[in-house]
Amino acid sequence: MISFRNVCKSFGSKAVLNDVSFDIEDGEIFFIIGASGVGKSVLIKHLIGLLRPDAGDILLDGDEVSRFDEKAMYPVRRKCAMVFQHSTLFDSMTCVENVALPLRKHQGMKPREALAAAKERLAQVHMQEFGDRFPAELGDGMKKRVAIARALTLEPRYVLFDEPTTSLDLVSARRVDNLIRELSEELGVTSVVVSHDLVSIFSIATRIAMLYKGGVRLLGTPADFKNTKDELIQQFIHGRAQGPMET
């Protein structure tokens, strides 16, 4: 289980997160939504120690990971992987080398063994024939699939997706949705998804938290969001330009 407890974070004089608290249960597909710049990506990066909170605690399976140092975060990052917004494949490595890197570093596998295992991972996302290509030679959708293969290569229990369908065509976006759903249903993986994609949100989310002005505006199921009378949330989920939302 993941718990955010009174998390606060500022950059300079700008308070991004202010007393954010909620829990994410095991096996959930939990969406964090909100306008651009509201702190969604900032919040999930706290979970894996890429950012540190100014105040508050973050608990992962009962461990206060927000107090861990960089070395102590390595085991946390083994069980909690992240798919970044822009894929973030390493330009100087081929796709298969990208996927093999976590195996070599986290598990200490020898390069040859890691590459063999990485090829299997690439096959699972139907990218085995592109293993020897460099990221610059691939389209956005293909890079995203390689990034997902890299994140899943250590068989994590938690996966954080930062806008996984942004910049993808509709077909590729729905494939990513299906993959997230399969991870949850077949492997029991807990997915935390930062997204603006309304189709994804209302097709696969088990629960949703909406961030607004540094706090949680509403936490509930997709049905709760559809039925709420909060005009600000209605404006967001219907994508209306006019309304009370300040951006």
Binding site: K45, I48, G49, L50, E70, M73, Y74, R77, R78, A81, M82, F84, Q85, H86, T88, L89, F90, D91, L101, P102, K105, H106, P111, R150
Partner: protein, 272 residues
């Protein structure tokens, strides 16, 4: 805004506050660079290295700088010898010691320092831009997710490669400057190569100072540049600032190290 807030605002924009902020910023940058240096030395001491990374960085830093440095040092050798000859002839007509003084200056100071300043622009900018781009595109965060410390993975190979290749390039570039200086002395001032190649003023201590400078510059450039790259924020504008900062700070580091090592050498070898 309240009166006291106005007062703080007025004080903040005062000359002393500006100097204080600048001094604190410099101290913070120095502390950051020291931290990167210590962590790099720790990983160097551990000894493990990604296969092929060191050779790749040596090629990038050394081989790719070879043509640039050959051209620069060729011209600098010519200009130095020409100016030294003209100035000397104004005082004394005898140019028999032109080569001896030129070689002494080149070995003790100019070869290593000019090579380092050129590397600070070419290599320093490259390191800061590459690492800065990785920071803004979250590749550095992705490395941390893979249990690969960016200092170990990105900085260490550049640090070792820079030390080796700065020394090698200084030897090569010094040779180029000697050749162009010799030709200039022969053609312009009719000083024969035999007279020009006078090593009477070059001592073992000069060679030692030259080697110490090569090692210090070779270590400083990647550390300063990588620190700039790792502290990049924002988008492409941030990468631009990081690159500029890397070139300025690396050049400054070379000049300061030159002063410190030259001073230490002067006092250590009886103020020659």
């Amino acid at each position: 805004m309240t009166d006291s807030a106005f007062e703080i605002e007025r004080q903040d924009s005062g000359a002393l506050a500006v100097v204080g902020r600048r001094a604190m910023s410099l101290a913070a940058a120095a502390r950051e660079q020291y931290g990167v240096l210590v962590r790099t030395l720790y990983y160097v001491a551990r000894g493990k290295m990604e296969p092929g990374m060191l050779a790749h960085q040596m090629y990038e830093i050394g081989n790719r700088s070879l043509f640039f440095l050959t051209v620069v040092m060729g011209f600098i050798g010519t200009i130095l010898c020409l100016q030294a000859g003209i100035q000397t002839k104004r005082v004394v007509p005898d140019l028999s010691m032109l080569g001896a003084s030129y070689l002494e200056l080149l070995v003790r100071d100019l070869a290593a320092s000019i090579v380092a300043l050129m590397l600070a622009t070419r290599v320093g900018a490259g390191i800061a831009a590459e690492i800065g781009s990785m920071v803004v595109t979250e590749q550095v965060d992705a490395l941390r997710m893979c249990a690969a410390d960016p200092i170990d993975y990105l900085v260490k190979p550049r640090f070792l490669a820079s030390i080796v290749m700065t020394t090698a390039l200084t030897i090569w570039s010094g040779g180029v400057a000697i050749v162009t200086g010799t030709i200039t002395a022969d053609v312009v001032f009719q000083v024969s190569p035999h007279t020009f190649w006078n090593l009477s003023l070059v001592h073992a201590s000069d060679l030692l100072i030259c080697i110490v400078k090569c090692l210090a510059y070779g270590a400083a450039i990647p550390i300063v540049s990588a620190t700039s790259g790792l502290s990049t924020f924002g988008g492409s504008e941030g990468v631009g600032w990081a690159t500029t900062r890397a070139v300025v700070n690396s050049s400054l580091a070379v000049i300061i190290l030159n002063f410190l090592i030259s001073s230490a050498g002067f006092f250590a070898f009886h103020g020659r």
